[in-house]
Amino acid sequence: MKKLLLGDEAIALGAIYAGLSGVYAYPGTPSTEITEFIQKDPLARERGIRSRWCTNEKTAMEAALGMSYAGKRALVCMKHVGMNVCADAFVNSAITGVNGGLVVLAADDPSMHSSQNEQDSRFYGKFAMIPIFEPSTQQEAFKMMGEAFDLSEKMGVPVLFRVVTRLAHSRAAVEIGELKDQNNFNPSSGKGWVLLPGIARRQYVALIGKQAAMAAAAEESKHNRLEEIPDQVGDDKKDGRAPLGVIACGIAYNYVCEAGAQNVLKVSQYPLPEKKIKELAARSQSILVVEDGQPVVEQDVKAILGAGYKVEGRLTGKLPRTGELNPDNVAAALGKATGKGFPQAANLAARPPQLCPGCGHRDVYNALNKVAAEYPGARVYGDIGCYTLGALPPFQTLSSCVDMGASITMAKGAADAGLFPAIAIIGDSTFTHSGMTGLLDAVNDHSNITVIISDNLTTAMTGGQDSAGTCKFEAICLGLGVEPEHLHVVNPIAPNMEAITQLIRKEIDYNGVSVIIPRRECMQTLRRHSKK
């Protein structure tokens, strides 16, 4: 049976077919569709696969580890920066080891289509010393998911599954394989889960002891394929060596094939297959490493082959240092002719994304701008979500956007330094993801900040997923110690805006923590709900 699937959907279906019992995730482009697919899939429902959204990537990672402890197969999904949020649990899950198979999926976003950086999750895999899978195609993504679970159980460690935007959000036909049974409930009784120093030291030695087996598995893996060297490559051979060997990782392999390169080592499973790399090097005069993201493999290959061997890639400028790969920059690096299109059009303007017409964030920004203009020192610290677009015209309200939750804590730090008025704006889902702890710090310090939780009752930027704190915000803020007289819920519609503007003024002038919660449903989810 063949199905037309997004890369994300192929990953989801691959996990379901591999006997998954639970997916744990926080929405984040380009990973969101994996969990959404599992939530809607009839087979997943029939199998009782746990799939509700988590509060953040750390809670997701820990819950998945708990499911693995109980013997079942669990999947954690996130965008690349989510790896930073769950890093503590992630790195330590390699030390505890796993019982049921545990796969951690990180969807990287080279070129930052919807992200604030282009960090490469493969560094995390190396850091935690666990195997990494990096599929090139949707078909491979489906198949590899099952293999990743098998390898996780065989090695007793989590496996990192790394994809990039272009695979996650590209559609192709996928042949669906065999459906596996789910694991039986079988909780671990091992002591290795208690990472007290004495035990952790033993566990760490055990993890290092597994490295040789992981390397051997990658060396033998059919996903690390040294292609036969075709005769025509021999035309300009020097001392029997082809002029160029190519190491193509993950999706880069597609661009290398598109350009018609030969003498290629395809890499889709890590740790790196050192023997195959040395074999390629022995039959080539130099090596070009083609990898999407950061030069992780290029650095390692340099170390493997030594300073005397010529290795090129993103570090040497053969490929661009930043941004995603594409068929054109890869063809150019391979010395192949690139296509000639028309020159760029003259009558062209950038069309950045913007807040939807009627969106409640618009009203909030208009009110904030009005009040902020009255205070020469005012700064508004932003956060991650649709409302980050408040940094762009026509609003240009925001002074910062760093990471999930940073609005409140940056406002607090700036206020500590004497900045006034320090205002934070954060969305409802981002607040429960990582804003609550910062608000507790501010309350405990009696910081002079005004926090706007712009509540649209959903996780809007990623397409309208449920938000963990809906209906709980007043209780959360009060529980954290916000004073009831400085906690306000308002409805940001035109007739109320004058009063809301006045309220913002009043709370700015209060010397302490104030929280204003403008609450109005997202226009996108409203339209969806009214259709039903």
Partner: protein, 191 residues
């Protein structure tokens, strides 16, 4: 045989629906297909684009190389211009002629149209008005697909019509008919 198509427009204009219909036709015809989509931030009123590659042979790259697109299908005239570096020298552009102005620095409309007209093989029309007159204002994208059909040599028009029927089947016969009608109106437009 291969056909590389760039679909483009502004977030919310329905370019992914066109992609879905072509994808359905391609699957029914047993063609290979790869389609890179835009999800996430750009969908909020920004420019959106999708690379759709069809072939009788294996397709490697999810993205279309520069100068290789056989066809640009655009819901908006300036957005069609954005991707001409990807258009092959003998490629065609099928586009709505009506600007969607949601930015303060949108170029002069006449200049956009003139630049489009200076390119070879351009078919443009006010598809929104045509769809509205046909009583199906949401069918502008199907008018555009109809216009594109003459450049999609890899399919017969009947195959695309059948794909529309299958994609919209769940919404009932009236919706299928309204969309097929829009497709036909687009197909009958002369250059």
């Amino acid at each position: 045989m291969k056909t590389d198509i760039i679909l483009c427009g502004v977030g919310g204009q329905g370019i992914l629906s066109i992609a879905t219909v072509i994808g359905e036709a391609a699957t029914a015809a047993g063609l290979q297909l790869k389609q890179a989509e835009v999800h996430g931030m750009s969908q909020r009123g920004g420019d959106v684009q999708s690379d759709l590659r069809l072939s009788t042979e294996e397709i490697h790259s999810d993205l279309i190389p520069r100068g290789h697109a056989d066809l640009i299908i655009s819901m908006e005239p300036m957005e069609a211009l954005r991707y001409i570096p990807f258009l092959s020298p003998d490629g065609a552009i099928v586009t709505s002629s009506k600007p969607f102005v949601n930015i303060p620095n949108y170029p002069a409309e006449d200049a956009v149209i003139a630049e489009l007209e200076a390119l070879p093989h351009v078919l443009k029309y006010d598809i929104e008005s045509l769809a509205r007159e046909a009583g199906n204002p949401k069918g502008a994208n199907m008018v555009l697909l109809g216009m594109a059909a003459r450049f999609l040599g890899i399919f017969k028009p009947e195959q695309l019509r059948a794909a529309i029927a299958s994609i919209f089947a769940a919404k009932g016969d009236a919706i299928v008919e309204a969309n097929c009608k829009c497709f036909d109106l687009g197909y009958e437009l002369q250059q």
